[in-house]
């Protein structure tokens, strides 16, 4: 599903975020990327939907070499990858429902079908009752769940989360992880970056530990 080989990423200014990272994630797998802040977790995840491009090495997602993808092809790649951002990136000028349905507008889904899918996604994260609220009225954990609903509304085969539990209390964080695990159980490949070792230990899943831009 996702395969990194000897991936390095150097930012303009000389900062080396990744130094030769290689790993691969099988379809249907759930894996955690861990490491301290600044270890390169965010950079690693951003390479998958081509938000960043590798300086060297290759990033293969679903058989596509993402690093060499043409600019015009990037949106279509992103539609097949659900991304949950650390800061959610919700739009506060519209309702929860309108946030979740947004990705379906890009692909021109029929309105009724799109609405049905958006409600199904909200239902899966337990927020169907809040569809008319503005995201600002929701708690941090609820906003993160809205972000998850938006990430899965296109039914992607791959779901990635960049520190989705950061800034949440333990109970909300556990709930968020449960939602991710739930999607993994129905076959979605899931990759989550987190620095919260205690939280993920109990799942006994694969860990990719990043340290100083390398897999430790």
């Amino acid at each position: 599903m996702v395969s990194f080989s000897a991936v390095a990423k150097r930012y303009p200014g000389g900062q080396e975020a990744l130094k030769g990272v290689s790993f691969s994630i099988e379809p249907g797998e759930l894996a955690f990327v861990t490491g301290r802040s600044g270890a390169g977790k965010s950079t690693l995840l951003k390479l998958i939907p081509a938000i960043e491009r590798p300086t060297s090495g290759s990033v293969i997602v679903n058989g596509q070499n993402v690093g060499a993808l043409k600019r015009a092809a990037v949106p279509y790649l992103r539609r097949n990858i659900g991304v949950v951002f650390q800061d959610q990136k919700l739009l506060y000028d519209r309702s929860v429902f309108d946030n979740v349905i947004l990705p379906l507008a890009f692909s021109g889904h029929p309105p009724r079908e799109a609405a049905r899918r958006a409600r199904a996604a909200l239902d899966k994260v337990g927020l169907l009752a809040r569809e008319k609220s503005n995201p600002i009225q929701l708690s941090g954990g609820e906003q993160q769940r809205v972000a998850i609903a938006r990430a899965v509304v296109n039914r992607p085969a791959l779901l990635i989360g960049d520190e989705p539990t950061a800034n949440l209390d333990a109970e909300s964080a556990a709930l968020i992880l449960e939602v991710f695990v739930g999607f993994n159980q129905v076959g979605v490949t899931v990759l989550i970056a987190t620095h919260d070792q205690g939280l993920i230990g109990r799942y006994g899943k694969r860990l990719l530990r990043l340290d100083g831009g390398k897999i430790a």
Binding site: I51, P75, F85, G108
Partner: protein, 297 residues
């Protein structure tokens, strides 16, 4: 409905919601100047053109000329190969014609006698150039018994020359204000892009194509231009209406039914189309310049 069509409908809907009446009004006021000027010029050109094409001229005989002399002159005119048609207007007939004009019978009655001379109305062979007409009229003026030759084409040509200067001025004005329209649209779209910055950034992150993001802005530019064009037509229409109320009084006092006609359907359509395309151009310039700056990381 195809996804493509659905996306266009969505973009159009968004653009309609974001469309500012004030912007369309500003554009409309600016465009109404050249559009109105063009309408007035077209009217004048119509008048001038009617006479300029006319190869007709009037020969007035000396007052009190004998009918026999007039007939001799008529023979000479008919012999001239540059002349296609000759019509004799006896002084009695001219008087009768004049009497039919409102207000004049009283004046004529007050004179007590017929002040009008006999006249010939001559039509030159077409096609006759401007210079040929001048030559003919000066030749005819030299014929014995002719007091005055009036070539209607002469003043019409002067009017047409004036009108062509006016047309040039309107083209200059259109170019300047067209550039202004592009600039206004450019700026509106820039502000709109800044307002939508968060949405654009998030949309790019989760799979929107550039075309999807640009489309509402293109529509906004197009609609704003079209709106401005329609406002301009409205202003011209209202302006000519007001003008015509005065023109009617003036024209009637000359016994004329002249009115400023509104722009033709083709011209009106051209104004709206032109404004729309310039709006689209402004949007395109703005979008290509400002959307690139919003690249999510």
């Amino acid at each position: 409905m195809s996804p493509w069509l659905r996306q266009h409908r969505r973009a159009l809907g968004l653009a309609l919601r974001r469309l500012g009446i004030l912007n369309a009004l500003v554009i409309g006021v600016a465009l109404s100047l050249p559009a109105g000027g063009y309408a007035i010029l077209e009217n004048l050109r119509g008048v001038a053109g009617r006479f300029a094409l006319d190869t007709q001229m009037s020969l007035f005989l000396q007052p009190g000329a004998k009918r026999a002399d007039a007939e001799a002159l008529g023979k000479a005119l008919r012999a001239d190969r540059r002349i296609a048609k000759v019509r004799f207007v006896p002084r009695e007939e001219a008087l009768k014609e004049l009497s039919s004009v409102q207000g004049l019978p009283e004046v004529i009655a007050a004179l007590g006698h017929n002040p009008l001379p006999d006249a010939y109305v001559v039509t030159a062979v077409v096609p006759a150039r401007g210079e040929a007409i001048e030559k003919l009229s000066s030749d005819l003026a030299k014929l014995p018994g002719v007091a005055h030759v009036q070539a209607d084409a002469a003043w019409a040509r002067r009017l047409a020359a004036l009108a062509s200067i006016g047309r040039l001025a309107i083209w200059l004005l259109s170019t300047l204000l067209g550039a202004g329209l592009v600039a206004v649209t450019f700026n509106t779209i820039r502000l709109q892009i800044l307002t939508q910055r968060a949405e654009i950034e998030v949309s790019k992150l989760i799979g929107a194509t550039d075309a999807f993001i640009r489309r509402p802005f293109y529509y906004l530019g197009l609609l704003q231009g079209v709106g401005g064009g329609l406002v301009a037509l409205g202003i011209v229409w209202a302006g000519l209406g007001l003008l015509n109320r005065e023109v009617r009084l003036l024209a009637e006092s000359y016994g004329s039914g002249f009115r400023f006609g509104f722009l033709g359907a083709g011209d009106g359509f051209a104004v709206v189309l032109f404004a729309g395309l310039l709006g689209l151009l402004g949007a395109q310039l703005s979008v290509s310049r400002h959307l690139r700056e919003i690249e999510p990381v």
